[in-house]
Subunit: 415 residues, 2 copies
Amino acid sequence: MAIRKIPGGVTAAKGFSASCCAAGIKYQGRKDMAMLCSSVPCTVAGTFTSNLVKAAPVIWDQEAVHSGSPAQAVVVNAGIANAATGKTGMDLCRATAEYTGQTLGIAPEAVLLGSTGVIGPQLPLEKLCTGISVMAGTLSDSLQAGTEASKAIMTTDTVHKEYAVSFELPPADGSVPVTVHLGGMSKGSGMIHPNMCTMLGYLTTDCAISPALLQKALSDVVPDTFNMISVDGDTSTNDTLLVLANGLAGNRPITAEDDSWLLFREALFSICRDLAVLMASDGEGATHLMEMRVCHADTKENARILARSVVSSSLVKAMVFGRDANCGRILCALGYAGPVFDPARLELFLTGEKDTLCFFRDGCVQDFDEEAAAAILAEKAVRFSCDLHMGDQEATAWGCDLTYDYVKINGDYRS
Amino acid sequence: MAIRKIPGGVTAAKGFSASCCAAGIKYQGRKDMAMLCSSVPCTVAGTFTSNLVKAAPVIWDQEAVHSGSPAQAVVVNAGIANAATGKTGMDLCRATAEYTGQTLGIAPEAVLLGSTGVIGPQLPLEKLCTGISVMAGTLSDSLQAGTEASKAIMTTDTVHKEYAVSFELPPADGSVPVTVHLGGMSKGSGMIHPNMCTMLGYLTTDCAISPALLQKALSDVVPDTFNMISVDGDTSTNDTLLVLANGLAGNRPITAEDDSWLLFREALFSICRDLAVLMASDGEGATHLMEMRVCHADTKENARILARSVVSSSLVKAMVFGRDANCGRILCALGYAGPVFDPARLELFLTGEKDTLCFFRDGCVQDFDEEAAAAILAEKAVRFSCDLHMGDQEATAWGCDLTYDYVKINGDYRS
């Protein structure tokens, strides 16, 4: 029942193809549109930004997912977010979906849309349509096509983000287990803060699963994966995470919360966590991934709130950049987070590849080896943890350091 | 009934004296301790950090204020916060107050304490006591002494912060109105975020006022002044705002919420707002003060939440630093703040010394003059506002831009 990491991303699962093109929407000299397509209609589930100001493609996708009708293609552009664009922006979504549907020979309602980039400007429909025609003609189910698509949707990202796994499930017919594939890509580097997934993410699987259980699995894993990362505390207007399941693996369809569903959910968790951590470590300007684990909390939600508070703190983020073990800042960020705990019982740790140091215990900052701490803080991934000694719940959050380059990227450039 | 700005700070009111000294607690070559003293016992009111991890002097002052007994002196040090110091830190507070009381000939319970600086280390009692002896011997009621005290409590502040006002109240005897004075000093530059005042602030007045009405006036003005500023989203462990009233002005004591109380509260609001705005504009690394006014909100609290969300947004702060009118980020920060509003009815403005530009209206980002916007964003104070068209409530929040120097200050230096 093991989950294995396999090469590829959105085209790792059977029946999914991808393509991309340079449509010249805002960026010049690079690819800026991507298309995903399944050879057969898919069950779809999604989670979306909690921001009250929702981009037009978010509203389009929400309606599509809530309608329960199948989806078959996704069209994404980078450069312009199609947010704060009013009725014109919604009309453009419809026109884009209609053109895509016509080009691929599917219903407009089976086309999902995603946009990322600057808020405000209207998207140029003609360029979109030209791009869609090109992409429809170059769809490929190669792993490379998935990788190229994951690059085309980048904005300030410095690395493309894709993962895929496989696992075995009972077959629809016969007795030999079938291999199910689940892969995905995501983008996101700034305007990243836990509240729905703060990015664009597209997952594909050939698993046969009912719409309700697909959505439940996704809703179960998001709070501990994409919602546990922060780059800058800003929850985007465009966050969208979609999972498309086309059923081509030939497994006995998952229609109950049985062992097969639990395994599928575990695989989904694994992809979502890996993509989320990759986004945190590729936060705008980041030089370090930061991890904060809260254990022995009274409730799961309190553990999450405390862990997120630490990775969201500007002072903790600047301290990680400066490699300065000014651990009082972590304590401070736990203290203002909201959940009640007893500072006198709290223990706070820094864990490196070789050592673990205790920063705080018995109500006092401890004497620790400053050189050892500086060595750990020089590692690429900086891992803090605390033990509240209250209950049996835990949570982990991921973020990155606050650097000159974050300020440069967001001060100098209309991203 | 006018409130007049007058020179000075904590020694502007009758009967208050101040002093400071270089005790060498952490900083070298500068003054790092301050003392305030009243010639007679004072009514006292205070508000304190909401952080669960409270510094020892915060706990000491809270108990003193809640006891209702009079206060007569305040001793403050910069460099070490006496936070996360456990029982040792509390014992040190008692020893410091006892030594001060003995030196000044007052009860230890009449001595209030304040500390600011790095979290974790213990304060050196001997150095504190040496400093207290020096300061007790050099107390002065000159305006200069108040100014020097406001400089001695600075940490990463670049300017000292003091204000004073006077106003007339009915006399205790006779018919000629008496002049009442109210002054204050504060410090704060980093670890500044609205939730109680996120700083140290000390206000003095010669007004005769009951403890309950002094506290009520303070509690009334803090939510719209000190709690409406943010530098970095981090609510400190040490935030303390105290007001001491010694009654020496000779006014008819304020014992009801009458016109005199309303005038006193207005004067208190004016001092608190001016000190708060000065702290925001002196935020660590700041090159701009940022103001966000939310009007026609449905409730006062929603107006506050929305205004604070904008001045706290890293992306808005970086945009102000970069002088880039990327107004979608403001809309985004309003959208994730929590309160419900209708984006289609929202209007968003940028107001400079000469012009006001509309950024957003009718659900769309507007075409605005980019050059005019860049010129306004080059002004020292950048003022945004929005109209929700919902009700009659409004609030204003203040913050600053996010700059390379913020990262430098907090990455390079154990502040």
